[in-house]
Amino acid sequence: MRESTIMKIHYGTALAAVALVAVHILMRLTMGYAESLEYENVLANYKFVPYAIMLELILVLLAVHGFNGLRVILLELKQGRLYEKAVSYGCLVAMIGLIAYGSRTIIMTNMGMA
């Protein structure tokens, strides 16, 4: 993938994440911070499909943005063909791993397996 495409994705995921994370945080604050973290309320959030979809979107957006940011920092720290490949693929694998792990929580909780 061209670097310009990757960076456009980087900017796009940032903007989209800002909007969705704002909603996510507002949901914590509208019902009271401590109360919103109670088991029943958290479970209800996960079981509400639109909210679960939003959480999944935030997960993907932030994972893509965060691990690409890490890739950029690591690429600038050291150079070399092998190192750069390892960084790029390493970040991709970590990103997929984190999305898979987070999705597992969202899907299983949504399906009532918690």
């Binding site: 900017y11 401590a34 088991y39 987070g102």
Partner: protein
């Protein structure tokens, strides 16, 4: 990195003292980005405790609901706000917005790209981050 290249290295990259507030913003952007990624990974692990049922969730919440936990959380809030506001500024700058127009430069050559608009953006990001942090502390310790 070979010694022959005479690169400044990480010490030079993170040194914020020589080139004004823009370089401070550059450093804070990096640090907050790395901090937020670390928090995000931790948050994904944290929320996965819901799968352990009510007892497991409450146990974990109790573990992180400490003074230290609240302070870390307030730092995360500050990093999040700074990274967002400064990120929007940088993104606009990257698109060529607010960086000035090319012109014939006159001595003493004040660079138009380092203008007050961007400086205000940086200071706003810092102030908003501090305000959000205070608010976060008030919410967490107020309860």
């Amino acid at each position: 990195m070979s010694k022959d290249e005479h690169r400044e290295g990480i010490g030079g990259m993170i040194n914020p003292r020589r080139y004004g507030i823009e370089r401070v913003a550059y450093l804070l952007m990096r640090l907050s980005g790395l901090g937020l990624l670390a928090y995000f990974i931790g948050h994904i692990y944290e929320t996965s405790n819901i799968l352990r049922g009510q007892v497991g969730w409450n146990e974990f919440m109790e573990m992180i609901s400490t003074t230290e936990g609240h302070i870390i959380m307030s730092i995360v809030i500050a990093m999040c706000v700074f990274h967002t506001v400064n990120g929007v500024r940088v993104m606009l700058g990257h698109g060529g917005v607010g960086v000035g127009k090319p012109t014939r430069p006159d001595y003493p050559y004040d660079p138009a790209s380092q203008n007050y608009r961007h400086k205000i953006g940086i200071y706003s990001a810092m102030v908003l981050a501090a305000v959000a942090m205070m608010y976060g502390l008030a919410v967490m310790f107020g309860e």
